[in-house]
Amino acid sequence: MSRYLIRRLGQAALVVAGVVTLTFVIMRLVPGDPAVAYAGPRASPAELAAARQRFGLDDPLPVQLWNYVRDLVTGDWGVSLHTRRPVRDDLFLAFPASLELVAAALVIAVAAGIPLGVAAARHKGRLPDLSIRLSSMLAVSVPVFWMALALQTIFSSGLGWFPIAGEYDTGLDQTSPLRVYTNITAVDALFTGNWPILTSTLHHLVLPALVLAAYPTGVIAQMTRAALIEESARDHARMERALGFGETAVLTRFALRPALNPVLSLIALVFAYSIVNGFLVEAVFNWPGLGRYATDSIRTLDTPSIAGVTLLVAALYVLANLAVDLLQGVIDPRARAR
């Protein structure tokens, strides 16, 4: 196990190094001069030179890459061109909001996707199976930004059931100010007993979380179904049938647990995907997360911020995969050999 652990950690470190290098290379492709972007179009040559000096743009590229890595490691992620604050601080504020949204969506997706997959496998080839397969294919085909707009128009603007945008009713900051610990509003509100903000946040979460849950629900249902069907064709399932267990019992009591192994690694993949997909949902519902930060940064061609977002999400992806691989190594010793 420890050799597996070391090898896997080494691989992850290598990937992170590659991710940093690739991000650096992409950011250096910028057509405009970053110094101009920082100092403004009317800056004097002296100001430009100062900006260039400040960001080390006159150094050779390998030196710049080295400095970039050194800064990243020491926690200096650059200064955002549009908020004029350190990118790291911006990310600390924006990421928890995204995490809140993605976590809510994944909870919905797991709670809905796994039972749907079980139901489809249980009724394989018949009407419930076909309708679940078709609706999960629809769920993975729907453009999120369009679904977000549609639900917002129908349920917020039209019926008035849900708030139109935002993370919670900011008017509540006056009546019951929130003490901030994690920056995840729902968690902070829950642990400080701030019920008005908690209910407001949950109310605001419903629509964006539902929209973001569509894709993961679809893929989790498909994967659960496929894995269950494969598992229920194995010898142990025949044995259990021979012992007199019904089909539902074979699936839920015996086949489900081994079948959840591939579903687990799928969830890690879907997690990173959902953070990025969430960018579009955040844009529609004006959710104060990474997505809104990223879209603001794109509009202002703010390369340090974009690089920060890119690095953060890519690193999360590597971590999520690593966590799943290690977890599977613990659950299933055969996984370590691969």
Partner: protein, 293 residues
């Protein structure tokens, strides 16, 4: 290997007796036939757009201020947009943009991925290790994320969208092909080719490659939907096609503030994205159920 190919056991129960071409077609998962038919319809609509669009000039930069935001009617089935263009015509022209992007991305990323993958799979050893580590790096960026970063540094356009998505998509094909090619490379006919003194490049491209393609083809048709969705998302964020190009994601973005008052401006382009992505997914699912056995 952690390629996200969802194993599908649906075909497990398919009896192996359907051999004749007609029986094969009938026996194919009905989903595949339905998906292929739907997709063929969309391709046809895209190809024939200049002839079947009721107002072909509206696919471009025409404006009819007096006819702005008319609701759906006999004259304009899908209504008209902010500058009076026929939405149906723009949706039909939008199919050209979306399918062009999908075909270009799949061709580029499929081509690059398959070539690198087959080399990695056949050569094995350090060659495979190096190629796989490179794919690991690219796979750490979710497609939309790297496309976002690339689209920021390149000028927004349809070409940018194609390049940005292709850059993020090829590693999937490289990994998939590598794993298949590695197992094909151990088969007897490859050994005999080697014994006969056939040069390695010829073995790779003449013998290993054609025998490794089936799963890649399935994956390509499954991915068509994902590419269409990513491209529409990039255009929606203003990083892709721009006026006066007809592009579905762009149409949704331009009409989004009008959703409550003029629903047709946003609804139809969104449905077009949904249906096209759905067609690709249904076709891919059906093919997988049939071909991966």
């Amino acid at each position: 290997m952690t390629a996200p190919v969802v194993p599908d056991a649906a075909g497990a129960a398919t009896p192996a007796l359907r051999r004749t071409p007609l029986r094969w077609l009938v026996g194919v998962d009905r989903l595949a036939v339905a998906g292929a038919a739907l997709l063929a319809l969309i391709v046809l609509a895209a190809l024939l757009a200049p002839w079947i669009a009721p107002h072909p000039e509206d696919g471009g930069s025409a404006t009819h201020p007096l006819e702005a935001l008319l609701p759906p009617s006999a004259e304009h089935w899908f209504g008209t947009d902010q500058v009076g263009r026929d939405v149906l015509s723009r949706v039909l022209y939008g199919a050209r943009t979306s399918l062009l992007i999908a075909v270009a991305v799949l061709a580029i990323s499929g081509g690059v991925g398959v070539v690198l993958g087959v080399v990695a799979g056949y050569a094995g050893g350090w060659v495979r290790d190096v190629i796989m580590r490179v794919t690991d790096v690219f796979l750490a960026f979710p497609a939309l994320l790297l496309s976002l970063a690339l689209a920021v540094v390149l000028q927004p356009s349809v070409t940018t969208v194609i390049v940005a998505i292709a850059v993020t998509w090829w590693p999937w094909y490289a990994r998939l092909t590598a794993s298949v090619a590695a197992s094909v490379a151990t088969r007897a006919f490859v050994d005999s080719a080697r014994c006969l003194g056939v040069p390695a490049p010829l073995i790779v491209f003449r013998h290993v490659l054609p025998n490794s393609l089936t799963p890649v083809l399935v994956q390509l048709s499954l991915d068509g939907g994902g590419v269409i969705l990513t491209a529409a998302a990039l255009s929606y964020l203003g990083l892709g096609a721009h006026e006066p190009t007809s592009e579905w994601g762009l149409m949704v973005q331009q009409g989004q503030s009008l959703f409550t008052t003029n629903w047709w401006v946003v609804t139809f382009p969104g449905l077009a994205i949904l249906i096209t992505a759905f067609a690709f997914n249904v076709l891919g699912e059906g093919l997988r159920a049939r071909l991966t056995r």
